[in-house]
């Protein structure tokens, strides 16, 4: 999880009695300006009663209304900490007023920073096989205490890189801001499952399908598994596949800067070991809880 936002201020555009409605053009452009500035907005109008939910946590809400110079609710009354009369003000003046009021409850202004690009798991499809955890060298994935996969470090993810979604045998990894389906969350077809499996076999980076073998309790499987776990061999395989990945990167749409920032062989060895260990632990934990 990335650092929680500084207290997020929500703006209420209040158009219920006794406030007058905002001018139509102003309302829409103000909304766009507030959203672009990073503020969630709630528009309240009509006859309905103002509910507890509408009120929310008054402390981090700013209520804006056209009260004709006489705001009926003082700060702190009715559960709203901040009430501002914006009668006669234009869009930019209102936005500045919000920024100013927000400064009282937030240390730093809401700036545009990290593009929220990270994997989202479809748990209706995921089998908790841990291949994504083993593949990712940037510690984006982790496991819960009961051995389930979890995205833990979203901001470690390399912007615009969908590589780990190719590893997932169940097509369960989505990047909502990706351009094409099914990675963007569009429905998954049988063809998608086949096509993903036929792409460059990135899972070979893991030294073969060792996790399926891990789950297989037969002696034969155990002996094959131990051979494939040979460190040197796994590392060579991983390097070979990284090279292959670079050569076919245009097909996989992995940004050049991501490929350029791939770790050194030593780092790969270290990270791969650590990831394997985590995945193994999680799988062992998962199997004892089944």
């Amino acid at each position: 999880m990335i650092a929680p936002a500084n207290l997020k201020v929500q703006v209420l555009l209040y158009e219920r009695f006794p406030a007058e409605p905002f001018e139509a053009g102003l309302r829409a452009s103000l909304l766009a300006g507030l959203l672009d500035g990073g503020y969630p907005v709630q528009v309240l109008r009509g006859e309905s009663e103002t509910t507890e939910r509408d009120r929310g946590n008054g402390e981090n809400r700013i209520l804006l209304g056209c009260f004709g110079g006489q705001p009926p609710m003082d700060d702190g009354e009715h559960g709203f900490e901040r009430v501002r009369d914006v009668s006669g003000l234009g869009r930019d003046e209102i936005l500045s007023l919000v920024e100013e009021a927000m400064g009282e409850v937030q240390e730093a202004p809401v700036g545009r920073r990290w593009k929220p690009w990270f994997p989202v798991i479809d748990f209706d499809r995921c089998t908790h096989c841990m291949q994504c955890l083993s593949f990712c060298l940037f510690d984006v994935y982790g496991a819960t205490s009961d051995g389930k996969i979890q995205v833990q470090n979203e901001s470690n993810c390399k912007t615009d890189c969908p590589a780990c979604s190719r590893v997932c045998p169940e097509v369960a990894i989505m990047f909502p801001k990706y351009k094409a389906g099914p990675i963007n969350g569009d429905a998954v077809s049988d063809d998608d499952v086949r096509r993903e499996a036929m792409k460059v076999d990135i899972s070979a980076l893991l030294g073969g399908d060792i996790y399926a073998l891990l789950r297989d309790r037969s002696e034969k499987a155990k002996s094959r598994f131990s051979k494939e776990r040979d460190d040197e061999r796994a590392l060579r395989e991983r390097e070979r596949c990284l090279n292959k990945l670079k050569a076919t990167a245009s097909g996989l749409e992995i940004p050049g800067e991501v490929l350029a920032s791939l770790p050194s062989a030593d780092e790969i060895r270290e990270k791969a070991e650590e990831a394997r260990r985590k995945a193994q632990q999680a799988l062992a934990l998962g199997s004892t809880q089944q």
Binding site: Q10, A24, L31, V43, G46, P116, D122
Partner: protein, 133 residues
């Protein structure tokens, strides 16, 4: 028109995955509709930050969400530890609908209030059983 449903609009701030004219058009129509609604700058960012507001939003029944693919939207709420309440949930996909279709899907009366129980009627908006209507 009666607007008994909660409407949530995602502005998808950090990427161009939703066409600009669709975002702008839908926001303008909602603003002019007379309906109550909520908007958030970017559900993806809120999910990564596990923002408490997501928890509040997820607990509301009968919500229509204007964002992107339903699988992605549901995944984002689940990832934030606030799975969406399935009851009466409709997700209107701004990646595939035009302004007219999306606005109609968001503002039409709920199934129980209409003579015909088919809601929504717009392709690209989905009820949570995943059936395209």
């Amino acid at each position: 028109m009666d607007h008994p449903r909660r409407i949530l609009y995602c502005h998808c701030a950090f990427a161009q995955v939703i066409p600009k004219d669709v975002k702008q058009g839908v926001l303008e129509r909602l603003a002019d509709s007379g309906a109550d609604f909520e908007c958030v700058p970017d559900l993806c960012e809120m999910s990564a930050r596990r923002e408490p507001l997501l928890q509040q939003l997820s607990e509301q029944p009968n919500t229509r969400i204007a964002a992107c693919y339903p699988r992605a939207v549901q995944g984002l709420f689940t990832a934030a530890g606030s799975p969406l309440k399935e009851s009466g949930l409709e997700i209107v996909n701004l990646r595939v609908l035009n302004v007219d279709e999306a606005t109609e899907a968001l503002l039409q009366p709920a199934a129980a209030e209409t003579a015909t129980p088919e809601v929504p009627e717009t392709p690209g908006s989905e009820t949570t059983n995943g059936e395209l209507s």
